[in-house]
């Protein structure tokens, strides 16, 4: 696919993988910080994230409050740190569910073919035709707002992506000579599916998983922003952004930092996804 020029092919490849490595390091660093904050943040925050302070309403960033305070005098930095939990949790549940269910369905569809394949593909087409945010909105209204519903809706919306990826990859791999060889050696179909097809199908699924994580972080903030995500006073980046709209002229720092948190997290996952995509694309099946 790349230029076939033998003189600079290698050089280009090296440079490419260097860029990939750099992206992976930056992305991994950002994501690592966010995950650490999500897990341990609640114990590290300088202030109680939900404690109002009516003497310091909408205070500008200062030494006492590095990122300022909100309309109830709550410390923005503390709320941002605690808010990381919601984003990471939603992304984690969505990715885990979508990859486990989607990979299984995709490989089973490719392996069994026939009616099973047709049913799975039909289901995927229906979910695909359902506008993603509308599905999330409908689910949230039906089940009530909350993190679990946001995670579930993200798992469902992203499921088709994984099913298609895993199915396409499995279809490709089942034609490989080494699969034929294992069959000739007398391994059972289930064994081949689990031991050979599954591990070899995972690479493109992992790339999609990092993009799903990024999408879920954005979706959580969208739904919270529309008022359908996590309910106050629990801080999430989306609800903070929503709450800040009324004070944009007086306290622009709330919207700025809340948006920046979402942006950096999504950027981190996208960088990881890009780097994985580039490095896995090189590898043979």
């Amino acid at each position: 696919m790349r230029t076939a020029d033998p003189t600079n092919g290698n050089l280009a490849g090296n440079e490419q993988s260097e860029t990939s490595a750099r992206r992976a390091i930056i992305g991994g660093g950002v994501v690592g910080v966010v995950v650490v904050l999500a897990v341990f943040g609640a114990a590290m925050v300088p202030y109680d994230a939900n404690l109002p302070d009516f003497d310091h309403l909408l205070a500008a960033p200062s030494l006492a409050h590095p990122l300022g305070t909100d309309d109830l005098g709550r410390d923005v930095l503390s709320r941002l740190i605690v808010g990381a939990q919601a984003s990471v949790w939603v992304g984690f549940i969505a990715v885990l569910t979508a990859t486990v269910v989607g990979t299984t369905a995709g490989i089973v569809a490719a392996w069994l073919g026939g009616a099973v394949d047709a049913v799975i593909i039909a289901a995927v087409n229906i979910v695909l035709a359902f506008p993603g945010l509308l599905l999330a909105l409908s689910l949230t209204v039906v089940l009530g707002p909350g993190l679990g519903v946001v995670a579930a809706s993200q798992a469902i919306v992203n499921l088709p992506l994984i099913v298609r990826t895993a199915r396409g990859r499995a279809l490709l791999i089942r034609q490989m000579p080494y699969v034929e060889a294992r069959r000739a050696l007398g391994f059972s179909e289930f064994n081949i599916m689990r031991r050979t097809i599954l591990p070899n199908s995972l690479a493109p699924v992992i790339v999609q998983a990092s993009l799903i994580f990024a999408n879920s972080v954005i979706a959580e903030s969208y739904l919270s922003f529309l008022g359908l995500g996590v309910q106050p006073p629990t801080p999430t980046w989306g609800t903070m952004l929503r709450g800040s709209i009324g004070f944009l002229d007086r306290a622009p720092w709330i919207a700025t930092f809340a948006g920046l948190s979402i942006f950096l997290t999504v950027l981190g996952f996208n960088l990881i996804g890009d780097a994985l995509h580039d490095s896995l694309q090189e590898r043979d099946i």
Binding site: A122, N125, S138, V266
Partner: protein
């Protein structure tokens, strides 16, 4: 051959739309609370509530409600809004123009940026321009649309006072006013699309540039510009069209958020308000219509492919 292929593809859509309609219908029926009570308020007498329930058919069994809904849908009747009592079809039609204006202009602006930028990046791989554009692409794709919207309001409306912060003026009333109100929501929507489209154009053009016929074109003595713009972009067009057609979902999510943030009276704002008011007929109609549009776009893309490349028409 082409006609038979097309008929088969159109028939294949029916079960998908049927599935979407069933899911949409039953999902909205799971919403806790009763629309008649919601409309009349909790102080209403039980007689009034049951009278309204009968009028809205919500007292009948679900299958009856579903088939009554489908039957009237097939006659072009989307029912009436529980919230306003107006015909849903009329509300959809009214919201359609602002949304179409917003979505089409955003898509247009994104392509006006993405095509030249993508071609430059593809023809100068690993150059400073390529790196910069790639960086801009990743940043723009990671930017949550509504945050960009908030930043635009902060900078252009609150800070510089050059643009209105929200609202909509019909182009029929004032072209200038419409354009001023359009800029911020359009940019909010266009940024992510532009980034995604640029990456698509870049990889599609790059792939085509390494094809054998490009070497032939070069050997024929064509100028570099003619090769890239005519042969390169021409042959990269189909994969680009495919990716753009798949962006409809992203476009719709962006529309919902941008319309809510900028108080833009389109389909997105309509559906969010309907979701809050538990206005089933409106939500169902929006879901089914967008799904139909989505499927139709997919079909149109496939048909375009089939017309260009006969191999696609094989079963």
């Amino acid at each position: 051959m082409m006609v038979r292929w097309l008929v088969r593809r159109v028939l294949a859509i029916v079960p998908t739309l049927f599935g979407v309609s069933i899911i949409g219908f039953f999902l909205m029926r799971q919403v806790p609370g009763d629309p008649a009570t919601a409309l009349l308020g909790f102080e209403a007498s039980s007689d009034a509530v049951s009278a309204l329930q009968a009028r809205l058919h919500v007292d009948q069994s679900w299958p009856v409600q579903y088939f009554a809904w489908i039957a009237s849908l097939l006659q072009g009747d989307f029912g009436r809004s529980l919230q306003t009592g107006r015909p849903v079809g009329e509300m959809l039609a009214q919201s359609f123009a602002p949304t179409a204006l917003l979505a089409v202009s955003a898509l247009g602006v994104s392509l006006a940026f993405a095509i030249p930028a993508g071609v430059v990046a593809a023809t100068h791989p690993r150059s400073a321009a390529d790196r910069l554009l790639t960086l801009i692409g990743i940043v723009a794709q990671s930017m949550p649309a509504f945050w960009l919207g908030v930043l635009l309001i902060l900078g252009l409306s609150v800070g510089l006072h050059i643009l209105p912060s929200s609202g909509y003026i019909s182009p029929v009333v004032s072209l200038w006013g419409c354009a001023m109100h359009l800029i911020s929501p359009m940019l909010t929507l266009a940024a992510g699309l532009a980034a995604a489209n640029m990456r698509t154009v870049r990889s599609a053009v790059r792939q085509v540039l390494s094809a054998d016929f490009m070497r032939t074109a070069k050997a024929k003595g064509l100028s570099r510009a003619a090769i890239v713009w005519h042969h390169g972009l021409g042959n990269a067009a189909m994969p680009i069209v495919t990716v753009i057609s798949l962006q409809f979902g992203q476009l719709l999510s962006g529309v919902v958020v941008a319309e809510t943030l900028f108080d833009w009276p389109g389909i997105g704002k309509l559906v969010v308000e309907a979701v809050f008011a538990r206005d089933y007929p409106v939500v169902e109609a929006v879901v089914l219509c967008t799904a139909a549009v989505f499927v139709a776009i997919g079909l149109a893309t496939d048909a375009l492919y089939a017309a260009v490349d006969p191999r696609v028409r094989l079963p």
